[in-house]
């Protein structure tokens, strides 16, 4: 039972890592009070999804998707890699918009902590 569980974990390590990283990202978004750290959590969650796509595209003993490959050589799938490639660039744009909002929030309320922000907004 334990051995088969370990074997599943060993052969699917990238997916297991992705689940744990998603958990950590989610934890940062829920539990950290600082807005900048929340945004880092969003980024972490994003990278976990990227890891999933890349792990799907991976092929054991293959090579990078430069075609035409030598005969009989396996090549990693280009399609998930393209999706991740564009998603990373869109991700940084999204992070930048979030950071701009953080800068605005600080200019308006003078704090970046979520609990203090709630109090300030409740007082208004």
């Amino acid at each position: 039972m334990i051995e088969s569980g370990l074997e599943i974990l060993a052969s699917r390590y990238a997916y297991a890592l992705m689940f744990v990283l998603m958990g950590i990202g989610l934890y940062m978004v829920i539990a950290n009070e600082n807005l900048v750290k929340k945004l880092i959590g969003v980024n972490l969650f994003q990278t976990a999804i990227f890891l999933f796509f890349i792990a799907v595209a991976y092929v054991e003993g293959g090579s990078a998707p430069i075609v035409p490959a030598e005969s009989g050589e396996a090549v990693a799938s280009p399609l998930p890699q393209v999706i991740v490639l564009t998603a990373i660039v869109v991700g940084i744009a999204l992070t930048a918009v979030g950071l701009a909002l953080v800068v605005r929030i600080y200019a308006e309320y003078g704090t970046l902590r979520e609990d203090t922000l709630r109090e300030v907004r409740a007082d208004e």
């Binding site: 900048v36 972490l44 990278t47 890699q81 490639l85 930048a96």
Partner: protein
């Protein structure tokens, strides 16, 4: 063989935990840069050099710079203790989330196997992946299949992504109420 992958996975995991727990935002940002770099190496190991380059330049470079600029523009809370208190209810919720996901693990295909449907096994014989790998050079004359898919097969999608990036640049200027950068 995959000792490299395991050690990289452990490194990435540890730096992610450190990012979540450091109380000082500056430390969290620096550790997050290390995390991105570890992730980039992991992508290289998983045969995605294009993605690894992007992640190293954007994840470890530009994201870090933007985060640093933000805390320079706003505030960096002084930290008495090194680590944050662990929020127990959040850990319970997140733990339940991860456990539910983990039940999917036995049903997933092993990493790197060619039995997965994406490789045209089972009922699917002509998948996009198989087509791209076999025909990309003949159809587009580009050696790099990633570029071929990016610019040719999925050109319309890339156009959408580029416009999203363009819109994000405008959105940042709008949020900061700037027409010029000065």
């Amino acid at each position: 063989m995959s000792a490299i992958a395991y050690s990289l996975a452990v490194f990435v995991l540890l730096s992610a935990v450190a990012t979540a727990l450091f109380r000082d935002v500056l430390s969290a940002i620096v550790v997050f840069a290390a995390y991105s770099l570890g992730m980039a190496i992991l992508y290289t190991y998983l045969l995605a050099p294009d993605v690894a380059m992007t992640e190293a330049a954007i994840g470890a470079g530009v994201t870090t710079i933007l985060l640093l600029l933000t805390i320079a523009r706003t505030t960096r809370p002084s930290a008495e203790e090194v680590f944050e208190r662990v929020d127990v209810p959040a850990v319970v919720v997140v733990g339940a989330f991860v456990l539910v996901l983990a039940t999917l693990l036995p049903d997933m295909y092993a990493v790197g196997t060619q039995d997965a449907p994406i490789w045209g096994q089972g009922v699917l014989s002509e998948t996009p992946t198989v087509h791209y790998v076999q025909e990309a050079y003949a159809e587009t004359h580009a050696h790099n299949a990633v570029s071929a898919v990016l610019a040719s097969y999925r050109g319309f999608d890339t156009f959408g992504e580029a416009v999203v990036v363009f819109a994000a640049g405008i959105a940042v200027l709008l949020v900061l109420k700037r027409e010029v950068f000065a």
